[in-house]
Subunit: 309 residues, 2 copies
């Protein structure tokens, strides 16, 4: 009998759970808010363990039907040791041996990793990157991150901290970044900057990227200009990626990537103009396929391929 | 009996040959100029084949003592097919099946690859990167390139064109580059730019980096300022590399890297200030060890590990 995986996607706002079929399909979902619990690590872990047990039992499954638990977290994870190093948006999480704690509570194999890594694994095995051996998966949101599949393997770096594309400098001088650096890609294309840019261009106190998309669809010149600027920054960041990694594919995910129409042709034009010709000619730019389920589906890949990842 | 490799390093000015011991030592050398021959591919290949035969026989070796020939070339190489795609500085070399031609002439296995790849292989197996599993080898010269050792393997990219660190943009706007792009790392730290910057800072028509090194050693404030500027550009380029690859080590080679005293402390300071803290804390910056022999020694690694590279 094929075994299921419980995937967990820990975000700053919600914690989402899914029961994932070996073929990558999410069979059932649940979620609970992170915030009221995040002040106490112990309480959060207890609630998470109960939620994992519950999603198994309410779907008429037993422990023996579960291959393992995969958990994606927004921060630095010591993957081989199963420890959370640091979560920038969930206070108090430093050096937590989460894998060991949950394995004891659940009596099941537990694997923990960075959330963008899980999204990348999902898109590679079940999404926009199926069958591709060299790809970068870029996630655009409040934070900007990426995962790297190089030579048909996940590339983690020396301390599981590779792929910080959000912190590739776009300029030698530039805005201060949360990471302590400046001029980082994220300071140009992270959501905070996009909201500020939209509000400035439209001369209104608050604008969302969704509103800018609607206006662009109506042909509003300022909204079209906004998306051209955003696409140029994204393209400028990806030129370096194309020249350094020589990938076949760049997958772009996260909320903003839904605006494919106003972003992708302009991003492709920047890469064609600025990147080296052989590398630019062969790289494809595709939108992520799995949307909000990607993290949970990636947990299935993590558990299933744990030995080789 | 241990077999030797004939290593060949093809440059725009000279072609250097070396007989390399399996342990990485260069036992004998020869060279001939590229220029007078480079107008005719056929003639250049014939002279190269004779030079290879000669370095074997004058050292009292026979064909059976040779494991193979490794050749590094300054351009795009189709490694699996053994074809030269394009050499920007040696006119007329497009789609040349060099491996097949030389194997027929020499009756020995021949492997051809990019010159920076061979330097990287040499530094990894016999130089500054021995035993390191995640490293970037940066070469500074007229051209700026790099080789990537990721997860203890050479990373080639989808078309053997990865590692073009010289063409990582340092700024969204910037000087035009030979590659067709603009604002590339090479336009800030390539030799042409360094000579021009030195001449401008010193207000003299011609200045070499060697002269600037001598002046800096004498405490000349303008020369010290020159090296600070150069180190800041190099550091700014490496910040992105540190955040993307999370390497243990960056090796810096090429003529300018000899000025370790005026470059390396400032480069390390930029990385510490600007790169992400975990990644910055663990990365070491070291000068390349093998100097001008690196390409020839790398040929030995290429032949010896051909199956896994």
């Amino acid at each position: 009998m094929k075994k299921y995986v419980v995937g967990v996607d820990v975000g700053g706002t919600n914690i989402k759970l899914g029961l994932v079929h070996p073929g990558g399909r999410v069979m059932a979902r649940s979620h609970f808010p992170t915030k009221p619990l995040s002040s106490s690590k112990k309480q959060l872990i207890a609630v998470l363990a109960e939620a994992i047990k519950k999603i198994i039992t309410v779907n008429d499954l037993k422990i023996k039907d579960i291959a393992g638990i995969g958990i994606g977290l927004p921060g630095l994870i010591d993957y081989p040791r199963g420890r959370v190093r640091f979560l920038p948006n969930i206070p108090g999480w430093r050096n937590v041996p989460l894998k060991a704690i949950l394995q004891k509570k659940l009596n099941l194999p537990v694997f923990i990793d960075n959330d963008v890594t899980l999204i990348t694994l999902a898109e590679w095995k079940f999404g926009a990157g199926r069958g591709v051996e060299h790809l970068i998966c870029l996630t655009l949101g409040t934070g900007v991150g990426s995962g790297l599949i190089l030579d048909n393997r996940l590339y983690r770096g020396a301390a599981n901290a590779a792929g910080e594309l959000g912190h590739l400098p776009l300029n030698e001088q530039g805005p201060a970044c949360n990471c302590g650096g400046f001029g980082c890609f994220e300071t140009y294309v992270g959501n905070r900057r996009l909201f500020a840019l939209a509000s400035r261009i439209m001369n209104k106190p608050k604008m969302t990227t969704q509103q800018m998309f609607v206006l662009a669809n109506q042909g509003h010149p300022k909204a079209l200009r906004f998306w051209r600027q955003v696409a140029t920054h994204i393209g400028n960041g990806l030129v370096g990626v194309v020249n350094l990694f020589n990938p076949e594919l760049i997958i772009i995910g996260g909320g903003v990537s839904n605006n494919e129409k106003f972003l992708f042709p302009a991003i492709r034009a920047v890469i064609k103009k600025r990147a080296m010709s052989l590398q630019a000619a062969m790289v494809k730019i595709r939108r992520a396929k799995l949307g909000d389920d990607a993290g949970i589906i990636g947990a299935q890949v993590l558990v299933d391929h744990a030995k080789s990842l």
